[in-house]
Subunit: 296 residues, 4 copies
């Protein structure tokens, strides 16, 4: 491609604002839109970008990226009255990087395809520091040609970029990864509580496990926050719950059980009941402590 | 210590023979005993070591290491009629590196202490390749001075050596680690089956998860063997089941629940029912496939 | 009420046709509608009833009962283009006896209320033989006055009629009951498999448990069908799965965990994956047998 | 049998004292022994019975019944230094009605058989009121002829008496029943908490479920105590935990999973951690409340 594609970016939340900033640093020309217009103006002032009035107004770009909360919001900004599709010409490529589940992604992809707008679902793994560094993991589902068009953007934002299959498959991979993470995190939490009850030194336990068969990304990332009851948000418990639920729905649709994830979901539900939805999902330790009747 | 301690080594199975060989390469003088005497003679011929007729005959060493299957065997070789204690003088240090549970370790330590024989429980993490390379993780419970005496041996055999607390605490740490590993492995197994049912490319899934929040030692070590149904034994399913059961017993004794490990135990039990006790515990995928009604 | 209310009845499936017949025997005047018109004509011929062309045409009745499959169908027949609401006058009472979840019931109730149409949600417990005998259990949610209007109909169809709260609460009670039933059934299934593996006489076990603390409606109703692998449909596995899923969604919405039901759901999902959706939910024993690697 | 057998009765706790009193009312001549001699004397004064000084002294009876806490105690009173076996002649029949697990029963039966003493394991179901009324459920394992000898005693104490198989099988049936009861009880507890969180009337829920597919002995017996947090002991949580653990061990020995019971065990373990071991097992609701972060 001779010139960099012009990029429309919708959704400047914790993740989206960092991903858009990385694209800007990578030299891409941006037009941005955000539900709260103030944030879009701040972003534009800080990083240099055009601000669109309506989602439809970013459709003049070559590629439009959406990074919002759920399928409902993606539908609104892409397919709604003032949505991208309302301003789109055939050949536009929409890339949704939110986590919305495979059913939602396929339905949106089909709606766009009716108007010759292409679609790739490309959810990401990695919290805000990795969004900021452009070192996310990006798992993309869609046609080979569409993936190739989006690839330069993905490589700016991510360290590992994998084309995992057709539209919707990026979502499935993401959901499965997050469900596994939720299980591994809850398992570390229960393990710490057993160790505490048995009188074992937790520093030693974490150090040993980190070099043993019990090692996991969740042990490395969440054991300390759980021990300190520090839930500064990297990934909200509410969003983790949504992802585990969507994973179980995908499993149900495919007729495949995921019993460990089902347990994790109930723990996260109980976290919601405690009002911890906005806390980092490490806050699930509160539920496990409540069950055990013991603090870490 | 002016001279290297003379070491007695009891138990030359898959792990023990490799650990003893590493000690020999490290310059330690060895006297060995094994239930099947033939293996002791083969070891002696290959690596250079004295062969004892009875466990009691290794008690002339400064430190006696035991690496056998369960608490019953440790009791027999240390406390039985011909056991180490029968030949021991006050001040001998016994180091059990088997996985036998904290209750067993404490009971054996107490029996030895009555006769002024010291005891450290020091189970290991890592399969036979790491035993062979001297890169095990070693988690030791016992008095500070006893740990210091055993340390040179531990450092020959292990890459990470951690003093985790009093006698029995090494066992607790080991059991908790293995229970977490069993959960993480079974979770990877279920995740692969959901992905297969949903039509997702498994190579892509494993690659993405390995760089994401779902990463774990078990994903790295067991996803491929599970996919290939290759159960060449690194760690027997039967032994993993024993460890998870001991972990749950330790949890029960401390009044602490470990719900995820409890699920993993039932899966391993069903593996025993299928005659997979001698296979590597990756064979638990057979149980998950049976539940899902679908092969990977 | 001087005269019996005229009743509109929508949905003449396995349950609905029997419930409508009971009302007819009880002297109520019926107008019926069914998606497959042929079944409505057959019912009318057999039991005596007027046949409506469209759902809107039953709205002349005093009370309209719906007994269909899910919220989507209730919405269509009540709120759709040709739906009951299109023909309704203020004061009409709609009673939905399907199992559609509390969220669906509240939403439909609210839509009807905007047009002064009253609503009671009144799901039932009991399979087709009890529908035929008029001995269902009926749990109704709605205003006291609306419940009183519907009561004569409920008492014709049911043996136990309970007003459980506001609109939607009937659904919640129903879902919780069914989720408990699913757990109890799966627990009986696992218990039978443990007994078989341990070599215990299953007749003796079932007889003893039936008189002991392990007794349950599910033991009485499903132990024999599971033992015989006889899945003649009383309540489809697919519908049980739907109910357990809706119960977990209601739990999640309320921030309350239901870990046992979560396990049951995964077993039912695996039953769907085996193509058992149309079988009675006793077919979940197939999943448990697959997990155990052993037939009953 | 011309005359009633003379009966030795060992263990006059909450259950044993009531069972012995029922035998006495049934006209059986009793010799009793209890660890705390005072209770034996009180029983003798109240009901009329000879008091033995040592377990060995009851061995002159035709049948000796033991009703104690665990396998360890059965071993002591039957096989210990002053135990029944020390005073027994060939042909004596020992009937153990404690819950000790199949492995313990088989081992004890084998030890007695070496000295031509017969053995039947006959655990009971039913709490103290049913022991008092002689309406227990009795599940007996042993030879047909031994069962026939014990039958008159069983029929005095029980309403339902079932010969379930060989020595040890009575235990297996008992453990499976109790494990099912533990699951059903915990499931009722979670169901009540979901209902409370969803704002449903609990009286209505319990009433409806009692007449529906969610009905169970545990719903009838434990819903109200759990709602009132009334844990007056009918069956101690500690003993229920022991039974569920023994059931899981029997399942593991047979290679059969029991995933629901495994979850129940962890809840009971957490109850022990809260110091509720002596409370009725309905106290498991405290653990579920801790998990849910909400009181009933």
């Amino acid at each position: 491609m001779a010139a960099s594609p012009r990029v429309g970016f919708i959704g400047l939340g914790i993740m989206g604002s960092r991903m858009a900033a990385v694209l800007r640093r990578g030299g891409f020309e941006l037009t941005v839109w955000n539900r709260t217009a103030e944030r879009a103006r701040e972003f534009a002032a800080a990083h240099g970008a055009a601000v669109a009035e309506r989602p439809a107004d970013v459709a003049a770009a070559d590629v439009v990226i959406t990074m919002v909360v759920d399928a409902e919001q993606v539908r609104r900004v892409l397919l709604g009255d003032d949505g991208v599709l309302a301003g789109a010409r055939p050949g536009l490529l929409c890339v949704d990087m939110s986590t919305i589940g495979p059913a939602g992604a396929r339905e949106i992809g089909a709606a766009l395809a009716e108007r010759q707008v292409h679609f790739v679902d490309a959810p990401v793994s990695g919290s805000s520091p990795r969004a900021e560094d452009g070192t996310l993991t990006i798992m993309a589902g869609g046609d080979e040609a569409d993936f190739a068009r989006a690839r330069p953007l993905f490589e700016a934002m991510g360290e590992l970029v994998v084309h995992v299959g057709a539209v919707g498959d990026g979502q499935t991979v993401k959901l499965i990864n997050n469900a596994v993470a939720a299980v591994n995190c809850a398992t570390v939490g229960e393990a710490l509580l057993v160790a505490r009850a048995a009188g074992v030194d937790l520093d030693a336990l974490v150090r040993v496990m980190g070099a043993s068969s019990g090692a996991s990304a969740m042990l490395a990332l969440k054991a300390e926050p759980m021990r300190r009851h520090d839930y500064a948000t990297l990934f909200k418990l509410e969003h983790m719950l949504k992802d585990v639920r969507l994973c179980l729905e995908a499993g149900e649709a495919a007729g495949a059980p995921f019993t460990f994830a089902a347990q994790a979901r109930e723990i996260l539900s109980a976290g919601m009941g405690r009002g911890l939805g906005d806390a980092d999902f490490a806050a699930l330790i509160e539920v496990l402590e409540g069950q055990a009747g013991r603090r870490l």
